[in-house]
Amino acid sequence: MIDDIANADTIPVLERLVQFAGQRHRLIVNNIANFDTPGYRPVDVSVESFRNQLGEAIDDRRGRRPDGKLNPIDSEQVEFLDDGMVLHADPIGENILFHDGNDRDLERTMQDLVENFMTFRTAAELLRSRMDIINSAIAERI
C-alpha cells in the first residue's frame, strides 16, 4: 500500500525533478568554481532532453492501468537509478574561447544557477504540499 501512496500522481515526477536539479546544481557550481582555471571547459546536460524524457515517461505511465511506477528511459546524459540519477555532462562550448583556453560565461552560468535553483524549489515545494496531504490523510485515520 505504501508503494501506491509513494507512486501516486505527481510524486514520482517531482521526485525525479528534484533529483535532476540537485545533480545539475553540482555541475553548475563546479563551472563557477573553475571560472579562472586555464583550459577548463564548462560542462552541462541538456534540460530540454531531460524534460522530453520525463514527458515520455509520464505519457507511458498514463497509458497503463493502474498507474504504477514511473519508468523513464535513460539517455546518453541522464542515467536513471532506482534511488537517484547520474548525470554524464558534456562540454558546452557556446562562448568565445578566452586566451587561457577557458570557455567561461559568467552571466549565463549565474543565470543557470538561479533558474536551476528555482526549479528545485518549485519541485520541492510541490512535493512538500503532496506530503502534507498524505500526512493529513494519515491523521484522519488515526
Binding site: R26, N34, F35, D36, T37, Y40, L106, F120, R121, R128
Partner: protein, 134 residues
Amino acid sequence: MYGALDTSTSALVAQRTRLEISAANIANAQALTNAAGEYEPYRRRFPVFAAGDPATGSPNGVHVASIEIDQGPLVPRLEPGSPYADADGYVKYPNVNSVIENMNSLEASRAYEANIAAIEATKSMMSVALQILA
C-alpha cells in the same frame, strides 16, 4: 549536495590565495632587496589554477597547482645616486605592474562573490529539501 559546498569552498580558497598573491605583489612593488638585505629586486608572483580538489580528492572544484615567479624583464629607473645603481646610473625595479595587479584582485574578488552566490543557492536548496519532510 554537500559535495557542491566543497566545490565552492575550494574555489573560495583558490581565489583568496590569488588575492593574497596580488596583495604581496603590490606590497613589494618597490622592494629592491631580499630578506637577507642583498640586492635582488622582487619578482612578480602569479598562481596557476588547475581543476580538481586534492583536499577532498574530488574531481570537482579547483586548486592552486603552483605559484610561479614572473621572469619578465625588471623595470630600469634612472637613479644615479642609489647604492644599487649600475654603471649607467640605472636601478632595476620589480616587474610589478600596479594596473595588472589591481585588475587581478578585482577579478579575484568578483569570482569570490560568484562562488558565495553559489554557496547561498546550495544552502537554500538544502533548507528547501529539509522542508519536504517537515
